[in-house]
Amino acid sequence: MRRPGNRGFAAGLPVLILLLPGAGTVCGAAAQEAVGFTSAAAEAGIDFVHVNGATPEKFLPETMGGGVVIFDYDGDAWPDLFFVNSGSLGEGGPRDGSGHRLYRNDRDGTFSESIAESGIERSGYGMGACAADVDNDGWTDLFVTYFGPDALYRNVGGRFEDATAAAGVAGEGWSSSCAFADVDNDGDVDLYVARYLDYSLDDNRYCGLLDIRIYCDPNVYGGAPDVLYRNDGAGVFTDVSRESGVGLAAGKGLGVVFADYDLDGRVDAYVANDLVANFLFRNDGGGVFDEIGLLAGVALGGDGRPMSGMGTDMADMNGDGRPDVFVTNMDRETHNLYANDGGGLFLEVTFASGVGQATLPYVGWGTAFLDHDNDADLDLAIANGAVLDNIGQFRDTTYPQRNLLLENDGGGAFRDAGPYAGAGFALEKVSRGLAAGDLDNDGDIDIVIGNNGQSADYLRNDADNGNHSLLVRLMGSESNRDGVGARLRLAIGDRVLVRQVKAGSSYLGQNDVRVHFGMGRRARADRLEIVWPTGRADIVEDVEAGGILTIHEGFGVVERRPFY
């Protein structure tokens, strides 16, 4: 469905006007913020239903899936969607339930399901996925994690071929989230795969009470070390987990994100672990990492408790230019927000930022820093849902939960904007994966949610508050093709907005790889600087808002399209 662009007021749409004291004034943004996410999956033709195959045996993977990825698989500059399905672990062993789903963006607000012609045929109990151009051929490839061997699908002109064996990335065990980044700055993307538990169906234990079986606490099982694959250049990978330092410790990894937290030009990895300390792998160069989460202050809850890390994201939420860390956890724990103080240290600001109070009742999974109202600061979207399908037997809460939208006041203080965020944020489901991106190329960020055992949601951003924005798509030449890991600095007056290109974050999924800048009331930015993973910098002066820039490494802006 075609919708008005982001300049004119969207009359007739379910937009609520929210007055947020102190919010939205950055860069002259409007004091009146329009927040409206429409639940638009059916309207858009997204009919995916995740199958978890829930059994009385309470196999733990059943309550953990499934992921969602936003990526442009057919190269038409319109983001497409990939939903990971799980299936059944019951009698007969692992098998495909109803298969993954690929939705091609029809560029008119709707999507066409296209898995049959995609070449993606692999069965298995899927968990998550991430996407990047592993062979720098201009087509985005897809990696899918499983409870079981993983799969890499090479994109050949918009159709996928199973390249798992040739690439050497099948692995084994229980993989969860994954992320691509060029960890050794050699011009191709490497692959990090978070691994969850040392668990097998034969080792599925009985947990709960005599009359109520529940999904086991992860502490019943041991953890599994994560895996790092180094790309040898043409999409063939080598497992470098041990020599890189990533595989030396067994965590219980559920979320992973790459960002250069110490601004040294090398991407670091943050891993959300479930009930054990989270990892911060500092990249010491050449793809060798040192785990420094405890020293840096991002391993635990502020008071020293290991938390139930699920999903994670890193971005500059307080405008100081340094990427901060957000991790989703269980209810009654609060999710955690860590502010990057520079000097290698983070300050846990969960309560000081308002995140603690807002997240206390929720079990969080997928999450993303995003500027939903184009006011030039990063807000937080969080997918929620309980772990136990029979949680109501224990507490007065439910398996489905509402998702959260936390509004940033510009300085890193957050408040729950969900009640004002439209019908999309009023849904209560068993949410897991969350991916964000401008699906309709209209200049604002939409959200896609993968729900466990339920239909997926598309929260279309229908707000229009008159704020301006910019989307930037990168094309590497010496750097990896999508510019994953590149750092972008957009100068607007006395503000500099810093963003990074990421290919994998949240929980089991990935956002649109294009970088979005909300610009408030400013229709032009003074300057855009891109520092590529190779270290090269490209600078664009006097950048006009309202469209999608494609910037080629070393060549500057090669394309500019207005928002739709």
Binding site: L210, C216, N219, G302, D303, F351, Q357, Q393
Partner: protein, 393 residues
């Protein structure tokens, strides 16, 4: 009081009833024709740990004399002791229906115990409901304890306003109760009401300067406020009293790094990490052993004794010194008529440091089953020499 009640419940539970009601000399297994006799039979079964038979006898007693309130309450107590809070609750509900307006103090105790039983299995909504019921009766349980626990359950349920009200009631009932003030302080921390939390912890420290929990609370308040020198000092106070206090080590370590004491901070964090690894291993072991035990118990409950034995043996293979698995395996073997193997299992339970009175009681029974009366008597004597338990209030 609460600690006593917990101990009593965990050790011998309803056997305490015997203190007030001597057992009948009539042989267990026989049926009586009046409620009093059935009750005595029930108590005798109870003494031998046969909860099912005891409850059968009480059921018959209630059928004979449905107007005897005491039978309902004792029956509920046995259900609680046998780990069946659902049945205990049903009986209590039935008693309330039959005897409206009753002020029997035992309701206070039973609802309190029911609440703790629900809480012990994680069913906090029902725990809060039962504790609220306990608060409606006067009885032996200290009302301040009832309201504090109500506050605890409410806090866990994230009913933070209700928790605050309950703690304040408890404090009003028992103004010197440090546990209530600690709970209040922690609740304020959860609400990020740092001034109120500080007041609560300071009040505790005024009366109990060595309170580790209060000192830790103070260090956490300073940490959240970014006052790292003060956080360090408070955490240091905790660690002088409890050197392996993990969370205090973490706070002191991070605070030291913040104030420039990098090497000392790193040392604290390394010490924290080592302790955490051990704690994680202990936690993993406890949960894994419990999972094996629950799996076997579930099979037993459904009559699949061979599967139960297999589950317990799988657990023992992984955790050979898990006394509870040896005991559970012994129980399953006994029910399967494999008494010699059951004896070996209960002896393993003893060797692994399991609950000695229980093991001796089961060994006495098993040796008797295989005709070794001397060994049976020896273990019976050991069982009966268990520490005396004070009668219930």
């Amino acid at each position: 009081m609460l600690e006593y009640l917990k101990r009593a419940r965990s050790l011998v539970a309803v056997l305490l009833l015997l203190a007030a009601h001597p057992a009948s000399t009539r042989a267990a297994g026989a049926q009586a024709d009046d409620a009093g006799a059935e009750r005595r039979i029930g108590l005798e079964h109870l003494e031998n740990g046969r909860f099912g038979a005891a409850l059968d006898a009480y059921r018959r007693a209630i059928e004979i004399e449905p107007g005897d309130e005491r039978l309902y309450l004792e029956s509920a107590d046995i259900h609680l002791a046998s780990g069946a809070p659902e049945d205990a609750e049903a009986i209590l509900r039935e008693a309330s229906r039959r005897f409206p307006g009753s002020t029997v103090p035992a309701y206070n105790l039973l609802y309190h115990d029911l609440a703790e039983s629900w809480a012990g299995t994680g069913r906090l909504s029902r725990a809060a409901e039962a504790m609220s019921a306990a608060a409606r009766f006067e009885g032996p349980v200290d009302p301040a304890i009832i309201h504090r626990r109500l506050g605890d359950f409410s806090a866990d349920l994230l009913r933070l306003d209700a928790a605050l009200a309950a703690y304040r009631t408890a404090w009003a009932l028992d103004p010197g109760n440090a546990a209530v003030q600690l709970a209040l302080g922690n609740l304020h921390l959860r609400r990020n009401s740092l001034d109120e939390a500080r007041t609560a912890f300071d009040q505790v420290l005024g009366a109990h300067p060595d309170s580790v929990d209060a000192l830790h609370g103070v260090s956490e308040i300073h940490r959240r406020r970014g006052r790292f020198e003060e956080a360090l000092a408070a955490a240091d106070q905790v660690l002088r009293r409890v050197p392996d206090h993990r969370r205090a080590l973490y706070i002191r370590g991070t605070a030291r790094i913040r104030v420039g004491q990098d090497a000392a901070g790193r040392a604290d964090l390394e010490a924290y990490a080592a302790l955490e690894v051990q704690a994680q291993a202990d936690e993993h072991r406890a949960r894994a052993v419990n999972a094996f035990r629950m799996e076997g118990m579930r099979h037993l409950l459904e009559g699949r004794r061979a599967d139960a034995i297999e589950a317990f043996e799988s657990g023992i293979a992984a955790y050979p010194d898990a006394a509870e698995l040896h005991g559970a395996r012994g129980q399953a073997l006994s029910e399967s008529g494999r008494h010699q193997e059951a004896i070996a299992a209960f002896l393993s339970m003893l060797e692994s440091g399991g609950d000695a009175p229980t093991a001796h009681r089961e060994l006495a029974r098993e040796y008797r089953s295989v005709g070794d009366i001397e060994a049976s008597d020896r273990h019976r004597a050991l069982y009966e020499a268990r520490p005396a338990v004070r009668p219930r209030p």
